[in-house]
Amino acid sequence: MWLLEIEDLSVSIGSKQVLKNFNLRISRGETHALFGPNGTGKTTLLNVIAGIPRYTIDGGRIVFKGEDITHMSMDERARLGIGMAFQRPPAIRGLRLKDLIKIINPKADAPAILRKMDFEAFADRDVNRGFSGGEVKRSEMVQLLAQQPDFVMLDEPDSGVDLENIKLIGEAINQLTQKDQRPSSRTKSGIIITHFGHILDYMKADRAHVMLNGNIVCSGNPGEILEQIKKSGYEGCVGCACPA
């Protein structure tokens, strides 16, 4: 029933330890939100699950669909069903977005996906080149909609996005995580990092966690946790409402 299991994972970059004996389990059909101050290891966690090789795994393991993927390459993980919307993705010169969609998934209905994200005008543009902050986020969603991962990771998909487009992005996330289907028939899962939680007005998260200093310090209902953070900050949240 677990889609993703992270067990006692310790990760460092250079000499700095970022995650310490980190544990997290996500069921099929569940979407989790991740809160926490800057520099607490949220992006690192997503990058390590994606398999970006700049990190050192000091211990523990990551299991996806029952398979230990701790040392698997990025592309193997992607083909196994892990997808990621990057916070600040690079621009790729000479690679048109519509061509990338085809490369990601030759069967994808590119025009429909672009239309859904109101992004047709960018089909012939180089991927992310000269895109504004909000356009980059829509470009990421377009690519994920083509990729159709079983587990989607979203690193601040709402930062720099205007209200109208936050709604579009929220709907896309709901589609990717099958929130448009009955709970019992959902098989896809997700994890989302958000600072201000705006996106949660437009998408459904089942559970939320607060991260501090490389570990989860509190978990619970996303709405309640967000309210506590707004009222008394990340540290305050730990003391008050931790139903789990």
Binding site: D75, G83, F86, P90, I92, G94, L95, L100, I104
Partner: protein
Amino acid sequence: MRVSSIDEKARTARGKKALYGTDVDLESYESEAKPQGVVANAEDLPSVVKKAALDVGVKLDSESSGAYVQMDQTPVIAKSLYEGVEIMDMASALEKYDNLQDYWWKLVAPDADKYTADVAAAPPAGYFIRAKKGMKTVFPVKSCLYLGSTDLNQRVHNVIIAEEGSELHIITGCTTPAHVQRGLHIGVSEFFIQKNAKVSFTMIHSWGKEVEVRPRTGITIAEGGSLSNNYILLKPVKTLQTFPTATLAGRGAVASFNTVIYSTMGNIDVGSNVNLNAPDTSAESISRVVSVGGEVIARGRMTGRVPGARAHLECVGLLLSDKGRIYSIPELDGQSRDLDMSHEAAVGRISEEELEYLMSRGLNSEEATSVIVRGFLDVEIKGLPEELKQEIKNITQREDLKGAP
């Protein structure tokens, strides 16, 4: 220049080494080739030639304003399909136009080096293309220079004239079939772009591993005239050296050079040299070089001689192997006040971040590298008709361009 004086100059320069590039022993090549039969239409060409032409982006059967095909030393087709463009083989043009007194060897000196001297001493072969005054067409003249005999020194001398207010597009593919073990190609080209004329010249090279190439090009652009010059080399070559020189002679003349190189071996020395001699002229030179082996020297020189001239050079290289070398030499020579000249040069590797990004979408490392390399070589070329743009794109997006040999 009188014929006797051309011969005389050529004689004095027979042993003169070129300023750039490795030295070629001309004596080690044959200068005589078996004459080829002239054909009436492109369809009648041997299929091996048609295939080779296609390989360098020259679709001889599709819509064009004319064609020129030279096999070894023989012009086998020189044919115009549009009344606004005159196309002839060079010997016929010299005969018709009184030795082309105002054009022949006016922009390239016969005694520039041993290669020009060698061409000057040889019987004239090559194309004469003239866009008549005010005549415009977006259909390109298609030309193919085919070096089909081993050990041959193929010599070509072309003259291109775009008369006042005309628009002319030329695509030239230069190629050797796989069975040619060794060869030399020397091509002299002289471009006269007259007042307000617009020319694009796209050249695609596809040689063999033992072929040496020495193009020699001179260009003059009059008031309001423009040139978009595009050079693409993606296949192995033993040595190649070219440094076309353009002079912007009239107010508002514009030149743009785009160079795309994918090197796997050999010694490739390419560049462009632009003299901005008139007010409000501008020039741009963009080169993209990928080396997975072999040495590439990418030169660019711009000389600004009058106020208001604008020039920009961009040499960017991706070096993907320890066996390769990319030597980028941008030069700006300002000789007047109120100039605007700049350059940008970079040699490096593929960004890890871009690789990881594509791998996170499921591409393996090789596929991701190849996508990035092809994107890097996809230069946005201005001033070309849509069909030619697409041809160039098809060529630079070939699947076999990878990160490693």
